[in-house]
Structures are given as C-alpha cells and as structure tokens.
C-alpha cells in the first residue's frame, strides 16, 4: 500500500471537486501484506484526516473515523448499498438483500432474519459444539496444523450448513468452492476462471436442493430452502433466481468472513498466553474476548456505498453516483471512541464496534458468527490449552479488496494421544 500524489494530468472528473482540506491519496489495498499492515494503514490515515479522496480505480471518497463511518451506515438515503465495492461502480452481480435499499430491503431481509436470530442460533448450539469437538479431536493428536485451512474454514462451514438444514458433510464441497471464489474475488485476474467455476458449483448445489424442495406441499422444518420455497414477497412466491441469489450470498458472506475472524483470534490466543489462560480460568469472558477480537482485528478493511443524492459530508462535496469507502477497521481503533484502542482488552466494556457494520445492513449472520467463534474457543482450549505460532517467515494476510484473512496460521502444540 502506498500513499502518493496522483499522477499529473489525472483525468478523474471527481478530482476537480476535492476541496483543499481533503488530502488526496492513491491507495490500493488489495495485494497481500504482512499481517497487521492494513490496520496500521487505517490507523495512519485516520490520524491524518477524517476524509480523503483516493485516486485508485475511478476515484472515491474515504472516511476514516468512527463517527463518520457510523453516519455512512445509518444514512442509506444518502449512502446506498446498490454498489458496495468502491472500485467496481457498475457491478455485474446483485446480492440480495445486501444490495437492496430501504424500504424494499426489509421485505427481503425479513425472509431470512429469523433464521439467523439468536433463538435460531441457540437451537443448533449443541450440534455446533459437537462439530467443534470432533474437529479438535481429529487435530489434537497431530501436534500441529494450518489453523486457517484445517479448522477455521471447516468449522463455520459445517455449522452454517447445519443451520440451513442440509448435511454438514457437504462442507467437503463448500470449503474448496469458497476458497476458489475468494482467490479470484480479491482482484487476481489469473484466478478469475477458478472463481467463476466455484460460483457455478455453489449455484448448482442450490439448484439441486431447490429442485428437490419445489414440488413438496409440506414445509420441511428447519430447512431454509423449503422455507424460502413456501415464502412470499408482496403476496408473490419467490422465483428460483431470487432464492438462488439469496442462498449464494449467504455462502459468500458467511464462511470466508468467519474463517478470517477465527484466524486472527487464534493467532492472538497463541501469542498471548495470559489472555488464553484467563479464558480457561474464566470461560464467562469468552463472549467478551470474541467481541474484542471483532473490534481490534476487524476483517472489513473498509465498506463501500454509492452516493444517492448530492450531499456535503464533513466538507466533501459528494455528488450522486460518487463512490465512498468507510474504513471500518480504522473506525474500530479510533482513539476518539476507545481507550487504549490498539490493545486487546479481554473484558472491555462499552465495546460498540462496527465489525458487523451498522444501519439496515447490519450483518445478518452476526449472531451465528459470534456463536461459532465462542464454541471454537471453548472446544479448542478444552483440549489444546497451550499452542504457539511456528513460522520462519512473517505471517501474511490477504488484501483488503475482499475481506482480510491470514493466508496461513501454522500452529504447534504438544500432541495428545
């Protein structure tokens, strides 16, 4: 990542509108970097200015501080979700309900919000524990693993499939699809074919499930696809395309993200035995430690929106159609909001992080993700209380073009019989 002056004669039309008080940067956050680089960059930018203009791609505005990022999330009438990747202002895809604005948004959101509410998550907690326990038991005798590939991807995938009501063993299919999809999604052009093939695999899986549910008159209990088949929006049944869009976005939004958060949390626990031992002694603090990891190790480097109406926003003359990028990772470490913002405080109070976004698009899977992370910590520490990161080279993280995740996390511990 570099912060430089724009090239002379830059033809960007928005540049002409950038006011004197708004610094101009050229920041491409997509290449992999050494772990922590993205948060460091977000910290640096936040302390220079609350707003920037970034000449990356077609050019977009950047907001760096907590209050401004929350304001972006809470005003969908100004900051529309119709486009959410700032360097791709005319996307070829449309995620539902991710890219639908209020008031239409709530119709689609309500179709699935109960499915991921705390009560629904509690229902599958026993199975989640079982899944976590089995995966840890498989790894424990080995004495080492790549946590990211061997555990962090597998566990959320199995639990996700369980809550949707399909076999958790189909994680064998989903894990490689999700890996392949995100290899290309970050912008690596060589991976585009693999990405398209993976998306095709995911879609075909749901086409087959949908076909099996379509002719059924009886609603299958605890089966999301069956529930969608029997649902209506504006008194109309949902078409296959809409159902497939919803299912695909759940897969893409839910699995890679939880993997990313788990990797950073377990790296922290590996490198901070005091925190680890405290959680073993006081398991009641695990939920609070999970929240703190979501704040400090935010995998959403930034979140994008498209401006829906001309607005003066903290001195930036935004025009309809401009793209904006709120640096969530920087907001969550804003010293204006948090004491000791760069420290991991296991029992932090008043932790109002935006790690699950805010406003109408607050992460639908937040309650599920929290439960998965809490169960992972509980089940892992019960069997492997002491472990460390073993690597000769610095850990790398995937760029913030999609969501941050450690590329690998080699962990080692005393093998148990």
């Amino acid at each position: 990542m570099t912060t430089t002056e724009p090239a002379p004669g830059n033809p960007l039309d928005i540049s002409a509108r950038v006011p004197a008080g708004c610094p101009v940067i050229h920041l491409d956050a997509s290449p992999p970097r050494e772990v922590g680089s993205h948060w460091q960059k977000a910290n640096e930018l936040r302390e220079i200015s609350p707003t920037f203009f970034n000449t990356h791609a077609q050019g977009y505005w950047v907001f760096t501080r907590y209050d401004e990022v929350r304001e972006m999330y809470q005003h969908p009438e100004i900051f529309s979700s119709e486009v959410i990747i700032p360097w791709d202002p005319e996307p070829a895809y449309r995620f539902v309900p991710t890219q639908i604005d209020p008031p239409e948004h709530s119709k689609y959101r309500q179709l699935i919000s109960r499915w991921f509410a705390p009560n629904a998550v509690k229902r599958i907690a026993p199975q989640a524990h079982e899944i976590g326990r089995r995966l840890v038991a498989d790894l424990a005798p080995k004495g080492s693993c790549d946590f990211v590939a061997d555990f962090a991807m597998r566990m959320p995938t199995e639990i996700f499939l369980t809550i949707l009501g399909v076999p958790h063993s189909d994680a064998d299919l989903f894990v490689p699809w999700v890996e392949d999809f995100f290899a290309g999604f970050g912008g690596d052009l060589e991976q585009q074919e693999t990405m398209v093939a993976a998306l095709g695999g995911i879609k075909q899986y749901w086409v087959d499930v949908l076909e099996a549910r379509r002719g059924e008159t009886e609603l299958r209990e605890n089966d999301l696809v069956s529930h969608l088949v029997h649902s209506t929006v504006d008194d109309q049944p949902l078409g296959d395309d809409l159902i497939l869009d919803i299912l695909t976005v759940l897969v893409l939004a839910g699995l890679d993200t939880t993997r990313g958060q788990l990797g950073y949390l377990f790296r922290h626990l590996a490198e901070n035995p005091d925190d680890r031992h405290r959680l073993i002694a006081e398991p009641g603090l695990i939920p609070s430690a999970v929240e703190e990891s979501l704040r400090l190790y935010t995998i959403i480097f930034g979140d994008g929106r498209i401006v829906a109406q001309d607005t003066d926003f903290h001195g930036c003359p935004l025009r309809k159609g401009d793209m904006v990028y709120g640096l969530v990772s920087g907001a969550n470490r804003d010293p204006r909001m948090y004491e000791n913002p760069d420290d991991f405080i296991v029992d932090r109070v008043a932790n109002n992080h935006l790690g699950f976004a805010g406003g109408p698009h607050r992460c639908l899977g937040a309650h599920l993700a929290r439960m998965v992370m809490q169960v992972a910590v509980e089940e892992w520490l019960a069997v492997i209380p002491d472990f460390e990161v073993v690597t000769q080279t610095p850990l790398m993280e995937r760029g913030g073009g999609a969501m941050l995740t450690l590329c690998t996390l080699p962990l080692s511990w005393e093998a148990t019989a």
Binding site: R70, Q74, Q110, S113, R114, F116, A117, P118, N119, P287, E291, V349, A350, N351, N352, H353, L354, F356, G358, G359, P360, R362, A366, H367
Partner: protein
C-alpha cells in the same frame, strides 16, 4: 435510572440483551423487546445497563440517571 431504546435506530445487534440479560430480552427476530419503550433499571443492574448502552453500535440506547 431509566433506559430507553430508540426503535428507529435499533438494528438488532443484540449487544444490549446479551450484556444486560436480567434487564432486557430479545424477540424472534433478534431485536430487543424494549424497542421504543422506557423501562426502569433496578439499582443492582445499573452497571449492566451502562455497558449495554455503551456497547450499542447504533447509539440507540439512552440512560436517564435518576
């Protein structure tokens, strides 16, 4: 102390009823049931109420100190 939840701002993050579990509860969609209401906070739950209010990412919770 009294606590009020702004129903228009609440987005169902679930931080409040997790942190103040004896004071607040959730509905089937994951929203706090006290949305749009003002409730009394018993003296022994004031710390939980403060943590709940401070942990709301939407600033939807207001405390009225007696």
């Amino acid at each position: 102390m009294k606590l009020s939840v702004d129903g228009a701002l609440c987005r169902g993050h679930g931080r409040c009823y997790t942190l103040a579990e004896d004071l607040l509860e959730d509905d089937d969609e994951g929203f706090v049931t006290a949305r749009g209401q003002i409730i009394d906070v018993p003296p022994d739950q004031e710390d939980d109420a403060r943590n709940a209010a401070g942990s709301c990412p939407e600033r939807a919770i207001t405390l009225i100190e007696a």
